[in-house]
């Protein structure tokens, strides 16, 4: 197949968007909704919640650290076989997890095996997507990444339903079957050769050239810093709201509102990134600044309306910066080096993600007052309640 001079900006590219949409759903949607399983693991293995949450941490870390491997393999073999292998690994990890007898077993099967599977799917898919589009790249990215938000909505209740009907072993078995769809998504990634590819050389040459590329390195540092704070608010928002006296249900509802706003932000920003002329990096700066501002206002806000507004604002701006962050990279390094570039970025920014969690550990909660019941004295007044002392 002769190399194309220009990315198609459509045509089969939309099928790649579809594939990327389902893949982000099956990788990050599953990771985000895994909290539902943790409650079961805590009682099934009689371990503490902190130890159980390591399963997801290991999975995310392996996915990000393993991204360069996915990139190198994609550059050599094309994205399709790599992503399909990744899908098989991810499903296999879940399958083995359903037979787990200890927490270590889960660390290895879900964390290590599924994590490696995810490393081989996510990065090559996004890189492949950015090669298929140039004018409408941001929009394509935005649409593809909405898969994460939508699936978090769908998977959390779905996983709970699975747990209620099949217990955690059966549920993991079915999540494994669900993850097999990654293989089908991989089949959609038709290879595309662009004329630049021959000019840039093999993966090792690409990696070396990237590591000497000043703008790329600066961009990676910037993304690492963003990544340090990115996941924190979702983790701590509910706890913060409960400390302010909110009930669990409205607090969870606010989180859903932020997630919806995140979704809208992704698509809107994707469309905006393509519609507005000039470098996309300026938009990235805009969204990052607004995200920072909304986060900074959180400790100050007390009134419920203010908190709702801030949650919507934070959701929108943090969602908006995601597709733009991914779109800047191909402009920076060119679509030929995109696989390796994205892999390196994911690996380095994962350091930020790992550091962010311990740095933001919540302060201890105030002790609840304990009232002792010694003797019972009861009196009935006209309007007051009973006093027990």
């Amino acid at each position: 197949m002769a190399g194309r001079a220009e990315p198609p900006d459509g045509g089969w590219g939309w099928m790649v968007v579809l594939s990327a949409f389902f893949q982000s759903a099956l990788v990050f949607g599953v990771l985000r909704s895994f909290g539902v399983f943790f409650v079961e693991f805590v009682s099934a293995f009689e371990e503490q919640a902190a130890r159980v949450s390591w399963i997801a941490s290991i999975g995310i870390a392996v996915q990000q650290f393993g991204s360069p491997i996915g990139s190198v393999l994609s550059t050599n073999f094309g994205p399709r076989p790599v992503v399909m292998t990744g899908g098989i690994l991810a499903a296999l990890g879940m399958l083995l997890a359903s037979f787990a007898t200890s927490l270590t077993h889960l660390y290895l099967s879900i964390g290590l095996l599924s994590g490696s599977g995810w490393a081989l799917t996510f990065t090559p898919t996004l890189a492949c997507l950015s090669r298929y589009f140039s004018r409408r790249r941001s929009l394509a990215m935005g649409l593809a990444l909405t898969g994460v938000g939508l699936s978090s909505f769908a998977f959390a209740p779905l996983f709970q339903w699975l747990l209620d009907h099949f217990a955690w072993r059966g549920a993991l078995l079915l999540v494994s079957a669900l993850s097999c769809h990654l293989v089908a998504c991989g089949a959609l990634l038709r290879p595309l050769s662009l004329t630049e590819d021959t000019a840039v050389g093999g993966p090792r040459a690409q990696l070396t050239s990237l590591l000497h590329h000043g703008p790329f390195l600066r961009y990676t540092v910037a993304l690492t810093l963003i990544n340090t704070g990115y996941f924190i608010p979702y983790v701590h928002l509910v706890a913060h709201l409960q400390d302010l006296g909110w009930d669990p249900l409205p607090a969870a509802f606010l989180l859903s509102v932020a997630a919806i706003s995140d979704l809208i932000g992704r698509v809107a920003s994707g469309w905006l990134g393509d519609a507005v002329p000039g470098p996309v990096a300026r938009l990235l700066m805009l969204w990052t600044t607004l995200t920072g501002v909304s986060l900074a206002l959180f400790p100050v806000a007390q009134a419920p309306t203010a908190l709702v507004v801030l949650a919507v604002a934070y959701g929108f701006t943090s969602g908006a910066l995601t597709p733009v962050a991914f779109s800047v990279l191909p402009e920076l390094v060119g679509t030929a080096r995109i696989y390796c570039g994205l892999g390196l970025v994911q690996m380095i920014e994962s350091i930020g993600g790992l550091l962010g969690a311990p740095l933001s550990a919540p302060t201890s909660r105030p002790q609840e007052l304990v009232i002792e019941v010694l003797d019972t004295k009861v009196s009935l007044h006209k309007e007051e309640g009973l006093e027990e002392e």
Partner: protein, 253 residues
């Protein structure tokens, strides 16, 4: 009518007070204390200067016979009544069925967060009856925590017949309360059916995708004349746009 619920688990000395505002201009009223339908105390009370009546009843609750509903009643044209309901602590009552598989170990937990029963006991259903579980006689059952605020029933090597309703009973000096837990034992075939159904669906999807691709590739290869035409066209466009194609690809904006 005023009513209040009081939770009590161990013998206590109780003092109940009712404050009434009688209607009309009276100086003396009769206040009656009852437990259920049984009359406990009936005595006259003086009405104070601010038109209130202050009635008090002191007694001790030692066993379950003294639990129940106590009422203070002001006799008169307009009957006024207040009721105190004494109950032992109730158990949590979260009733989600517990799903397990054959061969697994199930741990059924009953807890009472704010009380300490004298004793816990476990029962399982046999038809319509409750049969006590004796852990000493049967070693598939292990009961732990019979004298704390949490009790666990561990059932090893589950079989399908082990499914059904289980009860834990918290016994207090002043009564008892029970909670029902449902255990469901599934065979491993149950999730396997949807598992294979989904795998089959994935295989079908992949076949469709790959077949479509093979089909479109065949369509591109077959019209040979068309291919030559395409190549000539491409050469022509390369010639005229040679400069543009050699330059690095720029983002159109």
């Amino acid at each position: 009518m005023l009513e209040k619920n009081i939770t009590l688990e161990s013998p206590s000395l109780v003092s109940l007070t009712c404050e009434f505002t009688p209607s009309g201009n009276v100086t003396l009223v009769n206040v009656t204390w009852t437990r259920g339908t049984e009359l406990m105390l009936r005595s006259p009370h003086a009405v104070f200067a601010d038109n209130t009546v202050h009635a008090q009843y002191q007694f001790s609750i030692i066993n379950s016979k003294q639990m129940g509903s106590y009422s203070c009643l002001l006799e008169g044209k307009q009957e006024q009544r207040g009721t105190f309901n004494f109950k032992v602590p109730e158990l949590s009552g979260k009733n989600k069925p517990f799903i397990t598989y054959v061969g697994d170990t199930a741990v059924l937990v009953c807890k009472c967060p704010k009380c300490l029963p004298v004793r816990w006991a476990w029962y399982r259903s046999n038809g319509s009856e409750q049969v006590p579980i004796d852990a000493l006689m049967n070693d598939t059952y292990v009961i732990s925590g019979t004298h704390s605020n949490k009790t666990k029933l561990k059932i090893k090597n589950l079989r399908e017949e082990d499914g059904g309703a289980y009860w834990c009973r918290a016994e207090f000096q002043l009564g008892q309360s029970t909670d029902q837990l449902d255990l469901v034992v599934l065979s491993f075939l149950v999730p396997l059916k949807p598992f294979f159904a989904i795998i089959a669906e994935v295989i079908v999807l992949m076949s469709i995708i790959l077949l479509c691709e093979v089909y479109t590739k065949k369509k591109k290869k077959h019209p040979d004349d068309g291919k030559e035409f395409e190549q000539i066209e491409q050469l022509k466009s390369d010639d005229s746009n040679g400069v543009e194609n050699n330059a690095p690809r720029q983002r159109k904006k």
